[in-house]
């Protein structure tokens, strides 16, 4: 059935939208399988950013002149596009940041600093990216709070049976990844949020690896904060989003001090601006936000159901193909997965795989993927990771498998 659905998705048409894909690397057609690190940009995103710099560049929220008015409008339109993309109730809940990392740090340093005290607990999971571990460690250290961890199974699924026991009267935050960047596991956010809310615990979701692969409805998920990066959604680097529930954001202290986040300043006292400006000190990444808006426009033109069916089919095809390669073992075999094919190969270190694949024009990531505790849990120092996006094809998976035969040949 899935392959029938997949034919409804025109991957060749999509590929033509991404100019970078049409090139040779070391004399071979580029096979870009490093989408979990960053995604490529469609022409419309590149054009929107060039047009912005060429035709309407000015600072926002300050000038009375026409260009400033246009730039301000474009910036706020991008915010509204993000709101609609996340099915959020209010555009004021969308805060522009540099990326997922800054979004999580913002919550840890504002909500966390105001609400986490000595003896309190922050609950995360064993499969978190360092960016959803370290910000919480920093605030826990500062406050004398404890970081607790939901373990995972050998397949890479959360031990849901342990969650209720790990949520206590002292838990002040549950911070969890939506889709694991190392394993591809899709976590049951709605269930986790229900469990956390039953104990009055707010939930932050790291959505960095989710937004490019599935529709995200923050209200349906039931979380309180959702973070993602523009560059993993076919947008530019340096722009990302923190979404948070308005009543929480309004109560939170500011993040950084500076221009735009104030309503009045004297040397005695400063009155802070309203949400979201309160969290956007200084001149923001205006053109980045416009690029992100263009990326969301692009994704709105994609049939998500067809895309998901296509990607699931591709992931299943890749899983079968890699499993059939002698000596290859897939790390992360959860029942619900997206995009990620992490693997190890007998007697060959992932770095050597990466170098040999590169010579074949194939770009993958090798290493610990900023998830060192997870690597330790899975008992591997590193993995090779192929990560898929909507423009990848079965022919590219075939090229990967063929190149792995070359790896085996060299390391015979």
């Amino acid at each position: 059935m899935s392959s029938k659905l997949a034919t409804a998705f025109d991957v060749q048409k999509v590929r033509r939208d991404f100019p970078i894909l049409n090139q040779l690397i070391h004399g071979k057609p580029l096979v870009y399988l490093d989408n979990a690190a960053t995604t490529q940009k469609p022409r419309v995103v590149i054009d929107a950013m060039v047009r912005s710099y060429a035709e309407e560049n000015a600072n926002i929220h300050r000038g009375v002149h026409l260009l400033s008015e246009r730039a301000t409008r474009a910036y706020e339109e991008a915010r509204e596009k993000v709101r609609a993309f996340l099915s959020a109730p209010d555009a004021r809940e969308v805060i522009f940041v540099r990326g997922t990392t800054e979004a999580i740090n913002l919550v840890a340093q504002t909500f966390g600093r105001a609400n986490i005290g000595k003896g309190d607990e922050v609950l995360i999971t064993e499969m978190e990216h360092h960016s959803n571990i370290v910000p919480w460690q920093l605030i826990c250290e500062e406050k004398g709070a404890q970081l607790k961890v939901i373990p995972i199974t050998d397949e890479g699924e959360l031990r849901m049976d342990l969650v209720d026991g790990l949520l206590t009267d002292r838990t002040r935050m549950l911070a969890v990844v939506h889709v694991s960047n190392s394993l591809g596991t899709i976590n049951p956010i709605t269930t986790l949020a229900e469990k956390a809310h039953a104990r009055g615990v707010p939930v932050l979701v790291d959505g960095a690896q989710a937004v490019a692969h599935m529709p995200v409805d923050v209200q349906a998920l039931g979380c309180d904060f959702y973070a993602f990066s523009g560059h993993k959604l076919f947008g530019p680097t340096g722009i990302g989003v923190l979404w948070g529930r308005l009543p929480l954001l309004e109560k939170m202290p500011p993040y950084q001090g500076g221009g735009d986040m104030i309503s009045a300043v004297t040397f005695k006292k400063t009155t802070y601006n309203v949400v979201p400006n309160k969290f956007e000190a200084g001149t923001p990444n205006i053109v980045g936000s416009i690029g992100l808006g263009a990326a969301i426009d692009y994704m709105n033109g994609i049939d998500f159901a067809a895309m998901q069916a296509y990607e699931n089919d591709l992931l299943a095809y890749g899983t079968r193909a890699l499993t059939a390669v002698p000596g290859v073992r897939i790390i992360g075999t959860a029942a619900r997965k997206a995009s990620i094919l992490s693997f190890v190969m007998d007697d060959v270190h992932p770095h050597d795989i990466g170098t040999i694949l590169d010579q074949e024009g194939i770009a993958i990531r090798t290493g610990h993927h900023c998830t060192q505790p997870l690597m330790e849990r899975m008992g591997v120092p590193a993995t090779a990771r192929a990560s898929l996006a909507l423009y990848n094809t079965k022919e590219e998976i075939d090229a990967l498998v063929k190149a792995l035969a070359r790896v085996r040949e060299i390391f015979a």
Partner: protein, 149 residues
């Protein structure tokens, strides 16, 4: 550049059967090396008598380049004085960090010259040099954990 120039037989051989992959007994100096980019870890152990490296060995995990480099390094430095080992370090470092098109002197490095191919792969230079930085730290024993960053 052909991959076979990077993955030469001698490198693949040292990767498969690393020499001195052991903790020597006795040991009087050691250091840990760590590459935060890939998570590779290595410990280099030395037994130094007077100013001579009487014995040395290594432990850890790493790619073929880093394992072969460590293995060949231990082969090359056994019985050398600390000053000679330092000179080896300098020449090896110069070789792997030289621009890809530059002529490098590898005569004194012997077998280690096979690692000159990493110059063509900037992302892999740290793999080749991790063991060497760790060895240098072990010799001076100024600090125990070194990092390639």
């Amino acid at each position: 550049m052909d991959l076979r120039e990077l993955y030469q037989e001698v490198i693949l051989d040292h990767n498969k059967r690393p020499r001195n992959f052991r903790v020597p007994d006795p040991v009087n100096r050691k250091a840990e090396g760590y590459n935060p980019l890939c998570g590779d870890k290595i410990t280099v152990f030395l037994y130094v008598e007077g100013d001579t490296i009487k014995d040395l060995g290594f432990q850890g995990t790493g790619c073929a380049i880093s394992k072969a480099s460590a293995s060949m390094m231990t082969d090359a430095l056994k019985g050398k004085t600390l000053a000679e080992a330092n000179a080896f370090f300098e020449q090896f470092h110069a070789m792997v960090t030289a621009p890809a098109n530059a002529d490098v002197k590898t005569d004194a490095l012997g077998k280690l010259a096979v690692l000159s191919g990493v110059r063509e792969y900037p992302m892999r230079v740290k793999c080749a040099s991790l063991a060497w930085h760790t060895m240098k730290a072990a010799m001076t024993a100024e600090h125990e954990v070194v990092s390639t960053e």
